[in-house]
């Protein structure tokens, strides 16, 4: 597996430095090296450059900075609107003395974004060499497979270089590489081993793991600094850190509490339970009628419309569950998710579940739209608000039960699924 980094065209020490920087990527790097020459390049994030114009200008201006000749004044900003312009300007740039005999690289990060931009971008970049008739390499970086990126027509197949996931061993190696100067490498490696044991199942993101390692290390060292254990006393250290890491997984990893709050907790040596996380405040206080509107919305979303008679008309007669409904309505509505309902049905249910008589004032209607802005109800489909709008209820059963409890409304009795 471990191929050492070697390439005839490059000086040995430079390669060694590179190898240090990019652990466990030797084979990929050497392959890339064999393709690349020196590196006049433009690195562009396609998330950041969300229009083609920004993309072009970013690339051109970046390349311009490699041109040192006095012909072009450095400060002049190149603007570029279309792909043909881009090709023209690119050719001009390339023809300069500094870039003439070199390969120019354009690296497009998060290339999957290109699919959502103009249709000619992806095929255009794929054929850039052909169009500009220049020595240019375009590299797409993406997290999805090429087949999903594949445009329909007119493109060259790129050379696909696959970066496999880091294995656990590799992660261990990378993470333990940069250890703090106060502690020995073995000590830190042992720590990383424990950390990976907890987090490897949920997280493989190197950056995130690095971050977690950094913010929890102080706790790991605590017994050593206090003199309760030596660096080699692995078992004791493990016992100390393991529950701590598990709470970290439930709190700071999910961003329930922020990293800085987490660190503060460690310094003050308190339990994480004392600090309430983001999810602790799930309770939402609503005006009285809004609660009933939301309940009505929930009932309308999860009950078949045909059953409304049964729930909201006083003398409805007996309707048996099995005979009465079509087959597809027999499946649990809560498994199928909320269904859209018209405004009229919402109001009809609302008026039948609220005890007092209320006039249909503007206050009631505006509460419906408030619920929509709060994302508790969602407007479905067309934008035509005037003509019988349809809504869906976007809250969970637990949430609505909590709301119903505050107005002492027996929700379950009105839900078809729980009959």
């Amino acid at each position: 597996m471990m191929t050492s980094l070697e390439h005839p065209g490059y000086p040995q020490d430079g390669l060694l430095r590179l190898e240090e920087k990019l652990l466990c990527r030797e084979s990929q790097v050497s392959l890339l090296l064999s393709l690349f020459g020196e590196l006049p390049h433009a690195l562009v994030s396609c998330v950041e450059c969300f229009t083609s114009r920004m993309l072009f200008e970013h690339i051109l201006n970046k390349l311009q900075s490699y041109v040192t000749s006095s012909e072009i004044s450095q400060s002049l900003y190149i603007s570029c609107d279309s792909f043909s312009d881009f090709v023209r300007l690119f050719k001009q740039l390339i023809s300069h003395q500094d870039l003439k005999n070199q390969t120019v690289y354009i690296v497009l990060d998060k290339a999957e974004q290109l699919r959502e931009m103009e249709a000619n971008l992806l095929p255009g970049f794929l054929r850039l060499q052909e169009m500009t008739d220049a020595n240019v390499t375009v590299i797409f970086l993406t997290e999805i497979v090429w087949e999903k990126l594949h445009p329909n027509m007119g493109c060259f197949e790129p050379l696909i270089l696959y970066f496999p996931d880091y294995s656990k061993v590799e992660l261990q190696k990378i993470l333990s590489h940069d250890h703090p100067s106060e502690y020995s490498a073995e000590f830190y490696a042992a720590y990383i081993n424990i950390l990976l044991g907890v987090f490897y199942t949920v997280c493989r993101d190197l950056k995130e793991l690095k971050h977690l390692a950094a913010i929890n290390f102080a706790k790991f060292c605590e017994p050593v600094t206090k003199g309760e254990a030596t660096e080699s006393d692995t078992r004791k250290l493990w016992k100390n850190i393991e529950p701590h890491l598990k709470t970290a997984m439930q709190t700071v990893y999910l961003r329930e509490i922020s990293s800085s709050q987490w660190e503060k907790l460690q310094q003050e040596d308190r339990e994480a339970g004392q600090l309430k996380g983001l999810s602790a405040y799930a309770h939402v206080e609503l005006p009285y009628y809004s609660k009933f509107l939301l309940i009505a919305g929930y009932l309308a979303s999860y009950n078949p419309a045909r059953t409304d008679r049964r729930f909201f008309v006083k003398h409805h007669g007996k309707i048996k569950k099995t005979k009465f409904l079509k087959k597809h309505e027999k499946t649990n509505n809560h498994l199928l998710g909320p269904k859209p309902f018209p405004l009229d049905r919402l109001l009809a249910i609302f008026y039948s579940i609220v005890d007092s008589r209320i006039a249909p004032t503007a206050n009631i209607f505006s509460q419906i739209s408030s619920l929509v802005t709060l994302q508790l109800l969602t407007l479905v489909g067309h934008d035509d608000q005037l003509n019988g709008p349809k809504y869906k209820c976007a809250v969970s059963l637990d949430f609505i039960r909590a709301v119903a409890r505050t107005v002492s409304f027996d929700l379950i009795r009105y839900l078809y699924d729980f009959l």
Partner: protein, 717 residues
């Protein structure tokens, strides 16, 4: 117009500036229907000064309430980046990911109030932390592009303003403007930030006058406020955060998410890959009910403002708050409406001002005003209870009346001064009772007192029953609270009450010794081991307790409660018993309800069903249920459509319409209808009426059946 020109042509004439447009100010509208315009002007001014005071008070309340959460938020923003910058070289900070500091500010569902909160927040930020504050609203940010444009606009706009202030560079920086026009990318923003930073650092030392940047940090963070997180497109927000995280080292971003529902929204909108870029801390603002309580406490339950609400009005305002919107801002607006309406509709409101001022104004009352006062129901009741001679004097002599008014106004004022501390005392005593018979909030007790004699209500009796069972330390604690309340009021009568209450507390505490003696007696009882003996003594004790007079504590307790009851009866009378209460109490509940609870459907139905109601044209008067043929076409069409089911046959509708209309014009309808032909004008009128109804949202075309329209409303209205 004439010109001196000899040639033909077009000439532009600017309107002469002399002719002033008649613009109405609010004050002019105030006196519209009143003959006595000077009087109405005074009333308007009184209203304005009163409202200004109340408004500034309300603002102060909000500021005070928000102070705590704002202080911690500002502290967080101040620290967020300086922490990172200081320890840049440490191993730990090298290893950890650079997260964007973010504050989740949970504000509650009262969205109308948020605008004010954010305004104060950004002002405070600008003042003390950073000049770079951007606030974004979801409806302006449909895409990342729009967000960036907004950010650019607000940041660069600000810096241009700053430069203009400094007069070092009055012309807006050409490069900056060009950037603004050309492309709004964060790369250029980062360049801008570094250039600005360099500039301020170089300018700082030589500065003489205190600049607004005095309290700012060396590298002021760029604060971006998302006012309504729920409404933002998830994708847009995610992209923006991803972009920001790439620049966070050059541009110290800090995000503030304004959240209306709950902090869970963050997890709903942002996937882990994005939320792991943030360092989120939670800040919870004061709940709206707390805010309302504070507002009522400072604006309604105080005698510093002469204007008062009666029970019904308060009920209407609180109902709107609790049942509909939770918005304190709307509550205050409603209060303002009450005040305007009071000063507008009640001519005697001229006396609704501070006591001294009112006495002054009483002197200048005209004869008509005096007559008005004589006709006030409360005053008439008062007169009836007077001696016959005095009655005559009151009804005939204006000067005597004015004198009397002065004393009555003083009484009213004293009543208010006493009312509030006693109310607070009663509240302090009853809040700790189980099940809150007199209400948990003081506002409930207040409206109960406003409506009738509170001591006659069942709740009051049950509350006092519970109070009579109160344990000693509870009672002492409650009385202590009363003392605190009474100490704050400076009315003379209350000083007496205070000394009395303090005496009671003293006596209660002295009881301790006596109680101890009793327990000693009980302890001696425990020594006896003989079962028979024990039973006997217990029985004896039981008997003695039954027959025994109340213990000292119990008698004292009764005494205390009787005292409280007496002061309640004395001071918590409903305002209606006070003569001249109409001057300061606003009582147009129906007007207020009409203004606050707009009912568009009902209004529309009334307009179409009974056009006379709005048009007031005698010809349109008709009995209920009939269709007047002289009504506007749309009314006829509307009434006919009320009789139909969910689908309406257009042809039948047209025929019915033609029949009604033809009856109006006096043409024999049969002659036309026999031929199956309808007059073209009538046809056109019908089509217009139907399309108007469609525009109003009553019917819509349907594909279910040809020649039919669907009815969109149900029920009567």
């Amino acid at each position: 117009m004439t010109t001196e020109s000899v040639s033909k042509g077009c000439f532009v004439f600017k309107p002469s500036t002399k002719k002033k447009k008649m613009t109405f100010t609010a004050a002019d509208y105030f006196g519209e229907h009143v003959k006595d315009s000077k009087d109405s002007k005074v009333r308007f001014e009184t209203y304005q000064t009163l409202w200004q005071q109340m408004k500034s008070e309300a603002e102060k309340i909000q500021e005070d309430l928000n102070r705590k959460v704002f202080d911690s938020l500002l502290e967080f923003i101040r620290k967020s980046h300086s922490n990172l910058l200081e320890k840049m070289d440490e191993w730990r900070h090298r290893m950890r990911a650079t997260e964007i500091p973010a504050a989740a500010l949970v504000l509650g569902v009262n969205v109308p109030d948020h605008a004010m909160t954010f305004q104060i927040l950004s002002e405070q930020l600008r003042e003390s932390v950073t000049p770079y504050v951007v606030s974004l609203e979801a409806k302006e940010c449909q895409g990342v592009k729009h967000i960036l444009q907004k950010v650019f606009g607000q940041l660069l706009g600000h810096s241009i303003r700053l430069e203009a202030d400094d007069e070092t560079d009055v012309q807006p920086h050409p490069a900056e403007l060009r950037q603004k026009k050309m492309l709004c990318s964060l790369a250029s923003l980062a360049d801008w930030y570094t250039s600005v930073k360099r500039k301020t650092v170089s300018v700082m030392p030589g500065k003489k006058r205190s600049s607004p940047t005095a309290g700012h940090l060396q590298t002021p963070p760029v604060v971006i406020i998302f006012k309504d997180l729920e409404s933002f497109h998830a994708k847009v927000l995610q992209d923006f955060i991803v972009i920001c995280s790439q620049y966070v080292n050059q541009l110290p971003f800090t995000l503030i998410f304004g959240i209306a529902t709950s902090s869970m929204t963050i997890h709903k909108t942002l996937p882990h890959s994005v939320s792991s870029l943030l360092c989120i801390e939670l800040f919870q603002s004061v709940s709206c009910t707390e805010h309302l309580a504070a507002v009522i406490d400072k604006l309604v339950l105080t005698h510093s403002f002469p204007f008062r609400l009666n029970g019904k009005m308060l009920q209407v305002l609180i109902t709107v708050f609790l049942y509909h919107d939770f918005s304190v801002r709307n509550f205050i607006k409603g209060l303002q409406l009450c005040i305007v309406e009071h000063f507008y509709s009640q001519p005697l409101s001229i006396l609704c001002c501070s006591l001294d001022e009112a006495e002054n104004r009483t002197k200048n009352l005209t004869h008509e005003k005096c007559e008005m006062i004589r006709q006030l129901p409360s005053f008439m009741r008062y007169v009836e209870n007077q001696e016959p001679e005095k009655q005559v004097e009151l009804l005939t002599s204006d000067t005597f009346l004015k004198k009397e008014i002065k004393t009555l106004l003083r009484h009213l004022h004293n009543y208010h001064e006493n009312y509030i501390p006693v109310l607070r005392c009663l509240h302090a005593l009853t809040t700790s009772l189980p099940k809150f018979p007199l209400g948990k909030q003081i506002r409930e007790l207040h409206s109960a007192c406003l409506e009738r004699n509170v001591w006659e209500s069942e709740e009051y009796t049950s509350a006092f029953q519970l109070l009579r069972m109160m344990a000693k330390d509870e009672l002492v604690a409650a009385l202590q609270k009363c003392c605190d309340v009474l100490k704050t009021s400076r009315v003379k009568q209350q000083a007496d009450t205070l000394t009395k209450v303090e005496e009671f507390i003293d006596q209660l505490q002295k009881l301790d010794k006596i109680v101890e003696d009793e327990t000693v007696a009980q302890k001696s009882l425990q020594k006896k081991t003989d079962l028979y003996q024990l039973q006997k003594t217990l029985l004896e004790m039981k008997d003695s307790r039954k027959s025994k007079k109340l213990s000292k504590f119990e008698t004292l307790r009764l005494e205390v409660l009787d005292f409280i009851d007496s002061i309640v009866r004395m001071h918590l009378k409903p305002p209606e018993v006070m003569p001249l209460y109409e001057v300061v109490y606003f009582s147009g509940a129906s007007t207020l309800r009409k203004h606050l609870n707009a009912a568009p459907r009902i209004a529309l139905h009334t307009a179409l069903n009974n056009p006379y109601y709005y048009l007031e044209n005698e010809a349109l008067k008709s009995e209920a249920g009939t269709i007047s043929n002289s009504a506007p076409d749309i009314c006829i069409a509307y009434k006919l459509h009320l009789e139909c089911g969910r689908l309406i046959n257009l042809c039948d509708w047209l025929e019915a319409f033609a029949t009604v209309v033809a009856a109006a014009s006096g043409v024999d309808p049969e002659s036309d209808l026999v031929a199956g032909q309808v007059d073209e004008t009538i046809h056109a009128r019908f089509i217009r009426a139907v399309s108007e109804l469609e525009f109003l949202g009553f019917v819509k075309p349907t594909k279910q059946k040809t020649d039919h329209v669907a009815r969109l409303t149900w029920g009567g209205c």
